[in-house]
């Protein structure tokens, strides 16, 4: 077996192949460690060390290292930690006979000093946890209100002086949030129309009311499903994207760089995104209307013996312009909501990548929740309007 003589032997600088053979023996008032201690074998060393010092009782304990050949830094840290643990139980453990070549490492790991008193962070009780969460929630709410009012002020400025709007990015944002989302909107709308038609087909068939599949699909798609589905798709694509993009700009000081140039980040980053989604969502919802109805038509023709002509005639009879308008009217505020929440979360990011990830997740969850609430409110209000 090689003798390790280098002063930093414990750091694992030399022979890695040297086997970890060690023993930890307990005798009255002392624990004797001998052999070679590797960090890779630290789990066993930790267990045995704990078992050896467990019955220490109170008073004094000697940790004798005279026969230690080699000890990696990780194991030294465990010895020091075990000593600190003993100190909290009223046992004074002294590390003695540290081999000369290990002394520098023990110095480094504070092993030669008196064990530092552990400062335990007081754990919060139930009430404090609730209070703490409420305070954080209130602070988040205050920041969000502050942000929304800043956006409103920026918007008013833009309305008063349209030249102050930074809409250069708008075509690109519309393309990214709208045009690029078309394939997924088309696919999902087609499938939803198809599934709705298919699910209702069997029920309607029993009553010989096959052709009414057109009413069911047409009304539910235009009034509810198209605006909601497109909004959900846009949350996943653009909402998460905006939050991550602005969040990354925030944590890498790019937002501050804009501010020190005298440029207003909200007018520059938020207003174009808000306008883009407000424009894009109604168009996507309209596409979704058409494609969803086509999905229902496919089912009707294939499995309900309804001709395409009859299906379209029935759709035209069942749907009034207001049904389509209801969906489109909702879509623009949905777009504004998604952009506002995503940008607010992006601006609230701080620190690093973890925060950006957390804010992106919050964006998706908050958007979905808010969209469903808004949808319910719209449905109720539009119903009250008597149509």
């Amino acid at each position: 077996m090689t003798t390790v003589a280098a002063p930093h032997a414990g750091a694992g600088s030399s022979d890695r192949a040297e086997p970890a053979t060690f023993t930890i023996e307990r005798s009255p008032g002392a624990v004797r460690l001998s052999g070679t201690f590797r960090t890779t074998e630290a789990a066993r060393a930790w267990q045995e060390l704990h078992a050896a010092v467990a019955s220490a009782g109170s008073g004094e304990l000697v940790l004798d290292l005279s026969d230690v050949k080699r000890m990696d830094g990780g194991v030294i840290a465990l010895v020091v930690a075990a000593r600190a643990e003993l100190a909290t139980q009223g046992v004074t453990a002294r590390i003695v006979s540290t081999p000369e070549h290990l002394r520098p490492l023990f110095e480094l790991y504070r092993g030669m000093e008196r064990p530092a008193e552990r400062v335990r962070r007081p754990s919060l009780g139930g009430l404090e946890t609730v209070g703490d969460a409420a305070l954080r929630w209130a602070s988040e709410l205050r920041d969000a209100v502050h942000f929304f009012s800043a956006v409103a002020a920026a918007f008013v400025r833009v309305v008063r002086r349209p030249r102050s709007a930074h809409l250069k990015e708008l075509p690109w944002l519309v393309e990214r949030a709208g045009f690029d989302a078309l394939p997924i909107v088309v696919l999902i709308s087609l499938l939803v129309g198809f599934v709705m038609g298919y699910q209702s087909a069997r029920q309607l068939e029993r009553f010989g009311a096959n052709v009414y599949v057109a009413d069911l699909v047409g009304i539910s798609i235009t009034r509810e499903l198209a605006p909601l589905m497109t909004a959900i798709i846009v949350v996943g694509r653009s909402g998460a994207g905006f939050a991550a993009e602005i969040g990354t700009m925030k944590v890498s000081d790019e937002i501050d760089a804009l501010r020190v140039m005298g440029l207003q980040p909200i007018a520059r980053l938020v207003i174009p995104r808000l306008v883009a989604l407000a424009l894009v969502l109604p168009v996507l919802a309209l596409v979704s209307d058409v494609v969803g109805i086509a999905g229902g038509l496919f089912v009707a023709v294939v499995s309900l013996d309804v001709t395409a002509h009859a299906y379209l005639l029935e759709t035209r009879r069942a749907l009034v312009g207001w049904d389509v308008w209801q969906g489109l009217i909702k879509s623009a505020p949905f777009g504004v909501t998604i952009a506002l929440i995503a940008c607010q979360q992006g601006f609230a990011a701080s620190g690093g990548a973890e925060s950006v990830g957390r804010r992106t997740t919050t964006t998706v969850v908050s958007c979905l929740f808010t969209l469903v609430l808004l949808d319910a409110a719209f449905t109720f209000t539009l119903r009250m309007l008597g149509k």
């Binding site: 760089a257 020190v260 005298g262």
Partner: protein, 254 residues
């Protein structure tokens, strides 16, 4: 002319004045009662160990944070208000903070686009010149992700100079760079100061940089110790104050 920009003796003129400034966030106060001033045409360094609040102080100086106590005045314009138009200074952030979605040329030209009515071709010409000034002629069409650390810092300096401010704030301009590139950046700061008469406020902990570029400096003490020294760094090196000696001799107090 206000008190802050008044003529001092020997033709010196005060450009930045800080009085009784407290820096920190919320209940966490890093330094209190900071008072110092920077004269037009000098390179002024803010020194201190990591965590002393140097970069935080810079955020307060440029108006990114609002002081709870004290006052910052630049060129006699009163407290800095970043929403009130073009600020009279440029800032280079520690990590560059170049806009990742724009080319280097667009980064440098952004402020010109926003604050002047120049046609794009003229903006590009100025941006190219600014990039050439910092030795980055070939980087105009590159994205920030294609640049090395030293090039990003240079491009950020070029961006800070886009509108020819009389004052620039540089946060750790040579930190994290190899010694040769770091000295090149120091040389650039000195050249800009001597050639353009640019006033520079440099936040740094690199002693070599301080001796290479700074006319005057302040040293921020640890744990809210305030300004522990102010003056010419070459003279401060000989200081008998242990807190200053500790910093300039690169040796922790035992």
């Amino acid at each position: 002319m206000s008190a802050a920009a008044r003529e001092l003796g020997e033709g010196r003129e005060r450009l930045l004045e800080v009085r009784g400034l407290t820096i920190g966030w919320g209940s966490k106060v890093l330094q209190t009662d900071l008072t110092f001033s920077v004269d037009r045409g000098e390179v002024f360094a803010i020194l201190g160990r990591s965590g002393a609040g140097k970069s935080t102080l810079l955020r307060f100086l440029v108006g990114l944070e609002e002081p709870t106590a004290g006052h910052v005045e630049i060129a006699g314009h009163g407290p800095v208000d970043l929403t009130a138009g073009l600020p009279p200074f440029g800032v280079m952030f520690q990590a560059g903070a170049l806009f990742g979605s724009m080319t280097v040329g667009e980064n440098v030209g952004l402020a010109l686009d926003e604050w002047t009515d120049l046609p794009p071709v003229a903006t590009a010409a100025i941006a190219r010149t600014k990039l050439a000034l910092v030795g980055l002629e070939g980087a105009f069409d590159k994205l920030p992700s294609e640049l090395s650390g030293g090039m990003i810092k240079r491009a950020a300096i070029a961006r800070a100079l886009a509108l020819d401010p009389e004052l620039v704030f540089l946060d750790e301009p040579s930190a994290g760079l190899d010694p040769i590139t770091a000295r090149e950046i120091d040389g650039l700061i000195r050249a800009l100061n001597e050639g353009l008469g640019l006033t520079c406020v440099v936040v740094t902990h690199e002693l070599e940089s301080v001796f290479a570029v700074a006319d005057r400096c302040i040293v921020l003490g640890d744990h809210g110790g305030g300004i522990v020294a102010e003056g010419d760094p070459r003279e401060l090196r000989e200081s008998t104050d242990p807190r200053v000696r500790e910093f300039f001799n690169r040796r922790p107090r035992s």
